[in-house]
C-alpha cells in the first residue's frame, strides 16, 4: 500500500532530523532519546522487509549528510540491522510477545554498537581521521528502546488485532466475514 510506504518514508525523515539535529543538543543520558533505530526495529519486526529497508536508507542518509561524524556510515548500518532483525523475527525470536520485543530491542542496540565499532575501526585502519559519531551510555539506549517497544507493543495489542489468536480454516468457514 503506497500510503503506508509514504508514511514510513516521512517517519524516517522526521526520525533522521531528530537524531541528527535535535537529540545531539539534549544533555546527558537524554541524548539516548532517538527515533531512527526504534523505527527501523519496529518496521523490521512488525512490518515488511521492504519498508524497513526503505526507512533505514532514508533515515541513514539524513544522518550521514547532516552529522559531522564521517565514519559511522549510518545508512549501511541501519540497512544491515533491518535485514538481520527481520530474519531474526521470522526464524528465531518471536514478534508476538513483550519479552520478545525487549529481546529484539536489545539485539538492535548491540548490533548498532558493534557495527559502529567495526566501521570506525576500518576507518582508523585505513589511516583516515575519524570524527566519532556521538552516542550515550548503552544502558540509557537499552532503557529507551525498552520504553519504545513497550509503547509500540501495547499500542498494537490495544488498537489492532495483530496478537489475537489466528482463526483456523474450519472455524473461518463457520464465522461470518463481518465478525473476523
Amino acid at each position: 500500500m503506497w500510503s503506508r510506504r509514504i508514511l514510513a518514508v516521512l517517519l524516517a525523515l522526521a526520525a533522521g532530523y531528530w537524531d541528527s539535529t535535535i537529540a545531539t543538543w539534549l544533555p546527558g543520558g537524554f541524548e539516548a532519546i532517538q527515533f531512527s533505530l526504534p523505527l527501523v526495529l519496529v518496521l523490521a519486526v512488525y512490518s515488511t522487509e521492504e519498508r524497513a529497508i526503505t526507512a533505514a536508507l532514508v533515515t541513514g542518509v539524513v544522518q550521514d549528510v547532516l552529522l559531522p561524524s564521517n565514519s559511522g556510515l549510518v545508512s549501511l548500518r541501519y540497512v544491515m540491522i533491518a535485514l538481520l532483525l527481520h530474519a531474526l523475527s521470522q526464524n528465531v525470536l518471536t514478534n508476538r510477545s513483550l519479552i520478545g520485543a525487549y529481546a529484539m530491542g536489545g539485539v538492535a542496540v548491540l548490533l548498532d554498537r558493534l557495527l559502529l565499532l567495526g566501521v570506525e575501526g576500518l576507518f582508523r585502519f585505513g589511516g583516515r581521521m575519524v570524527v566519532e559519531e556521538p552516542h550515550t551510555f548503552i544502558f540509557a539506549e537499552l532503557l529507551w528502546m525498552a520504553i519504545v517497544m513497550t509503547a509500540v507493543f501495547m499500542g498494537f495489542a490495544a488498537f489492532t488485532r495483530r496478537f489475537l489468536p489466528p482463526i483456523s480454516r474450519p472455524e473461518a468457514g463457520r464465522i461470518p466475514l463481518w465478525r473476523t
Binding site: 532530523y17 541528527s20 545531539t24 543538543w25 549528510v65 559531522p68 570524527v131
Partner: protein
C-alpha cells in the same frame, strides 16, 4: 519471473553506493541531498538548542544559572577589552610602522548556525551551515559573537562545514600569552571541554589568570583572538617546557551561532 527479494535489492543498492563512492561520484549527490535537507535542518537545530537550554535549567537554581551566565558574559567582555588594550599598547611600542612592516590584512566574518553536533568525551566537532560557496576554507578560525576563538574549520562541503572545537583532542592552535610579542606555545584540546597550553618555554612568564590568545603564525588564523584563561601552571625545573591548564572562554557546550573569519584578499 519471480520478484527479487527486498534484501537483495537493498544489498544491490548499497553495493552501488559503495562503488559510486569509490569512484568519486557520491560527492555531488551528497551535496545535492544536503542542499535539500539544509533548510529544515536549520529549523530543527533551533528547536533542539531551545530544548537543550530548557532542560539544562533547574527551576530551583534558575536564578543562580542566570547570574552565572551573566558573570561569564562579563568576564568574556572584560577579557576582550583587556586583550584589545594590550594589543594597542604593543602596536604603539612597535618599530614596524617605521620599517613599513605592518601588513594590511583585512578580515571579514561570515555568520553561521550550528546545525548538528558530534561531541563525545574526546572529540568535539560541529556542523555549520556555511561552506565553500560562502568562501569558507579549511583551517579558518571560527569565533563566537564576542570574537572568542571556538575552533577551526576541519572539512568543507559546498553548503556546510565541519568545525573542530578547541576541546577536541586533535585540536592544535598556535598561541601566546596576551601581551607577548611572539609565539609561546600550543593550545591542545583534552576532551570534555578542557584544553592545555603546552610547549611553553620555561623562560616565558606564565601565571594563573593570564589570557591566552592566538599567535597569528597560522596562515588563516588572525592574531590576538582570545582563546582562554590560565587556571593552573604545571612546571618542573628539569623540563624544557611547562604546561598550563586553561579554560576556553567560548561556551563550547552551548554554541549555536558562530562567525567564520575569512582572510581578505
Amino acid at each position: 519471473m519471480p520478484k527479487p527479494r527486498p534484501w537483495f535489492i537493498g544489498l544491490l543498492g548499497l553495493s552501488a553506493l559503495l562503488l559510486l563512492g569509490l569512484a568519486g561520484f557520491i560527492g555531488p549527490v551528497r551535496e545535492t541531498v544536503r542542499a535539500v535537507l539544509l533548510p529544515a535542518a536549520r529549523l530543527t537545530s533551533n528547536v533542539g538548542a531551545s530544548i537543550g537550554r530548557m532542560m539544562r535549567l533547574d527551576r530551583e537554581t534558575g536564578e543562580a544559572n542566570r547570574r552565572a551566565e551573566e558573570l561569564e558574559a562579563r568576564l568574556r567582555n572584560t577579557a576582550v577589552d583587556y586583550v584589545r588594550l594590550r594589543a594597542l599598547e604593543e602596536e604603539n611600542r612597535s618599530l614596524r610602522a617605521q620599517a613599513n612592516f605592518i601588513t594590511e590584512t583585512g578580515y571579514q566574518t561570515v555568520g553561521a548556525r550550528v546545525i548538528a553536533r558530534a561531541i563525545t568525551h574526546q572529540t568535539a566537532v560541529v556542523t555549520v551551515d556555511r561552506g565553500s560557496k560562502d568562501g569558507v576554507e579549511i583551517g579558518q578560525a571560527v569565533v563566537t559573537e564576542e570574537g572568542i576563538l571556538a575552533g577551526k574549520i576541519l572539512s568543507i562541503g559546498e553548503r556546510t562545514a565541519s568545525v573542530m572545537l578547541l576541546s577536541d583532542i586533535r585540536s592544535r592552535v598556535a598561541s601566546k600569552v596576551s601581551g607577548a610579542d611572539r609565539l609561546s606555545g600550543v593550545v591542545e584540546g583534552r576532551g570534555n571541554g578542557a584544553a592545555h597550553f603546552t610547549l611553553v618555554p620555561q623562560s616565558q612568564p606564565l601565571e594563573r589568570d593570564n589570557v591566552i590568545v592566538t599567535a597569528g603564525t597560522e596562515e588563516r588564523v588572525p592574531p590576538n583572538l582570545i582563546v582562554g584563561i590560565v587556571n593552573d601552571v604545571e612546571a618542573k625545573p628539569t623540563d624544557p617546557f611547562k604546561n598550563a591548564v586553561i579554560e576556553p572562554l567560548a561556551p563550547l557546550e552551548r554554541l549555536e551561532l558562530v562567525a567564520i573569519v575569512i582572510p581578505g584578499s
